[in-house]
């Protein structure tokens, strides 16, 4: 059998890599550059104990540099920081899911926290050291997947846009692109915010809404032992180079007009990110922000992944990780490769991540939730005479 993977993000690339490891002929079709969108520009977090894929993710990440043959900058463990007593109480509640599964958490009093994260202030409420989870460099990891696929003989077609999926006898038999047609025995649709548009080509509605989110990064500061330290309304990490890369805060819902993803811009929210980073790390108040960026991600109505093999066409699998895809990608690719080859995931219970849960979904679900683009009333333009229209 041969598989066409539509979408060269972390999920699609990981799936293609797993397929090649099994010797399955695979072609990845990517409209731009691999990992160019959200997969390569996120916080790099890999700590999602609420996911059925998490155990497999935990098993795989420490091996990924070796398995892929290229560096991912994966680092184990995380630190949570609570600046205020309220945040400390919230942090405790958030640890329940992980601890119920047996993952270990070490509580840190302010002094112990300061010993590990010297940037926090005197007033910090506390924190914890997670003996699980971790983080990696998204840009380096997506390229590592792509190179590893090529090293195993897989094909990656960049700058190639999917224009249709040809179905015969209830099965997808070819993927049509602006560069020609690619015959196949199975298809994975893992096109991020474009997943619904691609799935519509086979008559399937995959409810996702795209949005823009943003991050800031500082100049490097000396490395601390556990760089995956965050809190105070921010997610992020210290990179192995030493930069502080953090995001969070309000997103902006988008409508994608066509097959392209427009360049996501930043907003003045970058100042609010700086404010929270400064509040959390007052001892590095002088450290300079040198860059910001934004990315486009998609969410399903309940914010959970859709990892499902369709009934019709029966050889098509759809995948969206609902805005949390990078960290879980070693495991999601493994699961999707199994869905494509054998029809079921052997290592995790994906029962509740199927499309069926959205049967009967209100067609106006995005409007109802307010998950649609919003524009302010037309601004007043002052004229030369000072009269406001």
């Amino acid at each position: 059998m041969s598989v066409v993977v539509i979408g060269g993000g972390a999920t699609g690339l990981s799936t293609a890599w797993w397929l090649r490891r099994e010797g399955v002929p695979v072609t990845v079709v990517e409209k731009g550059i691999v990992g160019w969108e959200a997969s390569g520009r996120n916080g790099g977090g890999a700590t999602h104990a609420n996911s059925p894929l998490f155990r497999e993710e935990q098993r795989l990440w420490p091996q990924m540099d070796e398995l892929l043959g290229y560096p991912t900058e994966y680092q184990r463990q995380r630190i949570r920081i609570a600046v205020t007593p309220t945040q400390l109480a919230n942090m405790e509640r958030g640890l329940v899911i992980a601890e119920q599964q047996g993952f270990q958490v070490e509580r840190l009093d302010p002094k112990a926290l300061r010993d590990l994260v010297p940037w926090v202030g005197d007033e910090v409420a506390g924190g914890c050291l997670l003996q699980f989870g971790g983080h990696a460099n998204p840009q380096r990891t997506v390229q590592a997947y792509a190179w590893a696929i090529q090293d195993l003989g897989g094909t990656i077609l960049q700058h190639t846009t999917v224009t249709g999926i040809r179905v015969r006898g209830g099965k997808a038999v070819a993927v049509e692109t602006n560069q020609g047609e690619i015959g196949c025995d199975a298809v994975l649709i893992a096109a991020g915010p474009h997943t619904n548009r691609i799935a519509a080509m086979v008559g399937v509605d995959v409810p996702v809404a795209p949005a823009r989110a943003e991050m800031i990064v500082t100049e490097p500061v000396p490395l601390i032992r556990f760089g995956g330290a965050d809190g105070n309304g921010l997610y992020g990490r210290q990179t192995l180079r030493g930069n502080l890369a953090y995001g969070g805060g309000p997103h902006e819902w988008l409508e994608l007009a066509d097959a392209r993803t427009p360049r996501p811009v930043n907003s003045p929210v970058v100042r609010s990110l700086a404010r929270r980073l400064h509040e959390m790390f007052p001892r590095v108040a002088h450290v300079r922000v040198i860059r910001s960026w934004a990315g486009v991600i998609e969410n399903t109505p309940d914010g959970r992944p859709i990892l499902d093999r369709l009934e019709d066409p029966s050889n098509v699998v759809v995948a969206t990780m609902s805005s949390v895809g990078f960290g879980l990608s070693p495991a999601s690719g493994h699961a999707l490769a199994q869905l494509l080859v054998s029809g079921r995931c052997e290592f995790a219970d994906l029962t509740w991540l199927g499309l069926a849960r959205f049967h009967g979904l209100d067609p106006d679900w995005r409007e109802t939730a307010g998950w649609v683009p919003w524009s302010p009333p037309a601004p007043e333009i002052s004229t030369a005479t000072g009269v406001h229209s």
Partner: protein, 534 residues
């Protein structure tokens, strides 16, 4: 309009805005000053912003020019520097008289306008900052006269303190009067190099020589240089810089006889081969830019009156293109500034005639060839690896090999069959992709010292025109700003009360091996919790 507003999204949220201006002018050089004064004369309310005098911490990062650690400690005295900047720009007096709101020592670090991924923005905003705080200003129209910056091209030893750019030297001599150089060698014998040498001579410095691969540009400037008996070494390449921590000289050799190298003693090398138009704001504002090597690189697309592709945005002066006539004649910038101000006024409904535009001559030399020649003669031929990105310590070999940064350990065997050429076989070379993989251009100087040379080196390696490597994106903040300065001290309560780490979808963070509960227990609402990240 949606029936509901998602409270954790940007919809309906405003940002704290310090003030509104009809016309914001960025840059108080000849073009910006004349634009601001003309707009004020036409009855518009104008704010004129200029970053000089810049903080000494930025000077140390070679921002905005290649200062090469050759500014004396006087630059730490901000009030004195402010006086000198005002004294160096007498037209500012007119601005004050006309009621222009002049802000000196203020950085433009961000620009936020409506676009395909930015529809919720209630106003067009510019981010400003000084050394204490940042703030936002809304505007109707903006005239960008952001000037040009130094082109840095590698040569062996160029990363030693004492290597400054032509703009850095000019600012040090004329704007700050704080140049700590005594004996200089100028690299570049074109219009810029000759002018730089003459300015140094006039400032009382000893000019020990002018070096260039090419022959000097004929004309009055060359006659003046000759009259001062400044030695010109045409057809020479730089073989290295001399000295310990401090620069003590430069070693050069004729291109035709590389073993006939000789040394020239100097404490400062001024790299004056060329300049680069500042297009960073245009990129942030979403304005179209085009590759025009005869104008110095990427420049904004503009109509005859100075309008850009996005309505309400105008440009004038060096940031729209650099030519030898522009370098020699500052009045061309002044004309362009007035022209853009007239266009802004006309678009605001003021009845005034358009000014005839200052048009660049039709036939101009392609300066890309000279830049390539410089790199061909200096980067690949040196026996040692040449540093390209100084902030991130990316050498030429690392760049062309697309190697991970030196702080990472990795299997060298994996990269034996990976380099820039194999990457190019997978698709057109993209500098932003190379930046992410090698880190070239990712440092604290924000790529100012390597952006252009990386572009040229990538193009040369791919056997493609320089302009076919697209402009790598610029990002806010356009100047490095400390966390406590960029910080939104004026954040609205609406922003604060609705802040979430990630979307605030409660069901996302509950166990996904269970169905979504029909009703989510409020105690189980983990949307503010920290058990997740993107």
């Amino acid at each position: 309009m949606p029936r509901t507003i998602d409270p954790t999204s940007l919809a309906g949220k405003d940002f704290a805005i310090d003030q509104h201006v009809q016309v914001l002018v960025v840059g108080a050089g000849p073009a910006g000053l004349s634009a601001a004064n003309e707009a004020a004369r036409l009855g518009l309310q104008v704010m004129l912003v200029d970053e000089h005098p810049v903080a000494s911490a930025l000077i140390g990062l070679d921002i905005p020019y290649l200062f090469g650690e050759r500014l004396d400690p006087a630059v730490q005295n901000k009030p004195r520097m402010l006086e000198r900047v005002v004294a160096a720009r007498p037209e500012l007096e007119t601005s004050f008289e006309l009621g222009v709101d002049v802000r000196l020592g203020v950085y433009v670090w961000g620009a936020f306008v409506e676009g395909p991924t930015s529809r919720a923005l209630p106003h067009r905003l510019i981010g400003l900052a000084d050394e204490e705080r940042s703030w936002l200003v809304s505007f109707d129209r903006i005239i960008v006269a952001a000037g040009a910056r130094d082109l840095a091209l590698a040569f062996p030893g160029w990363d030693r303190p004492g290597v400054v750019g032509a703009q850095g030297a000019a600012a040090a001599m004329r704007l700050y009067q704080a140049f700590s150089a005594r004996r200089v060698v100028v690299l570049g014998a074109g219009a810029l190099g000759l002018q730089t040498a003459l300015q140094a001579q006039a400032a009382g410095l000893q000019v020990a020589g002018i070096v260039d691969l090419a022959s000097p540009q004929q004309g009055e400037a060359l006659d003046a240089v000759r009259a001062h008996d400044i030695p010109i070494h045409a057809g020479h390449a730089v073989r290295g810089t001399l000295g310990g921590i401090e620069l003590q000289g430069v070693r050069i050799a004729p291109l035709a006889a590389q073993d006939a190298a000789f040394d020239i003693a100097c404490d400062t090398l001024i790299f004056a081969l060329d300049l680069v138009p500042n297009v960073e704001l245009f990129d942030l504002l979403g304005c179209a830019v085009s590759w025009r090597p005869e104008l110095g690189g990427f420049v904004p697309d503009l109509d005859a009156e100075g309008r850009l592709s996005v309505p309400g945005i105008y440009a004038a002066g060096d940031c729209t293109g650099i030519t030898s006539s522009v370098i020699a004649d500052a009045t061309l910038g002044e004309i362009a500034g007035r022209c853009a101000a007239r266009a802004a006024a006309r678009d605001a409904g003021i009845d005034v005639e358009a000014l005839p535009p200052a048009i660049h001559p039709a036939s101009l030399p392609d300066r890309d060839a000279a830049r390539r020649h410089w790199l061909q003669s200096h980067a690949p031929q040196s026996g040692d690896d040449v540093m390209i990105c100084r902030c991130e310590e990316v050498g030429l070999r690392d760049l062309l090999g697309v190697r991970p940064p030196r702080y990472l350990s990795y299997k060298p065997t994996s990269f034996e069959h990976r380099d820039l050429r194999t990457l190019a076989a997978d698709g057109p070379i993209n500098q932003d992709q190379i930046k992410r993989l090698t880190r070239a251009g990712m440092g604290a100087c924000q790529g100012r010292r390597c952006r252009e040379q990386v572009q040229i080196l990538l193009a040369m390696q791919g056997n493609q025109p320089t302009g076919s490597v697209p402009l790598p994106s610029y990002r806010a903040p356009l100047r490095p700003l400390p966390l406590n300065v960029l910080s939104a001290h004026d954040e609205t309560t609406e922003m604060r009360d609705n802040w979430v780490v990630w979307f605030g979808i409660s069901s996302q963070w509950l166990p996904q091996w269970e169905p979504v509960p029909d009703v989510i227990d409020p105690r189980d609402d983990r949307r503010v919790l920290r058990d997740f990240e993107a």
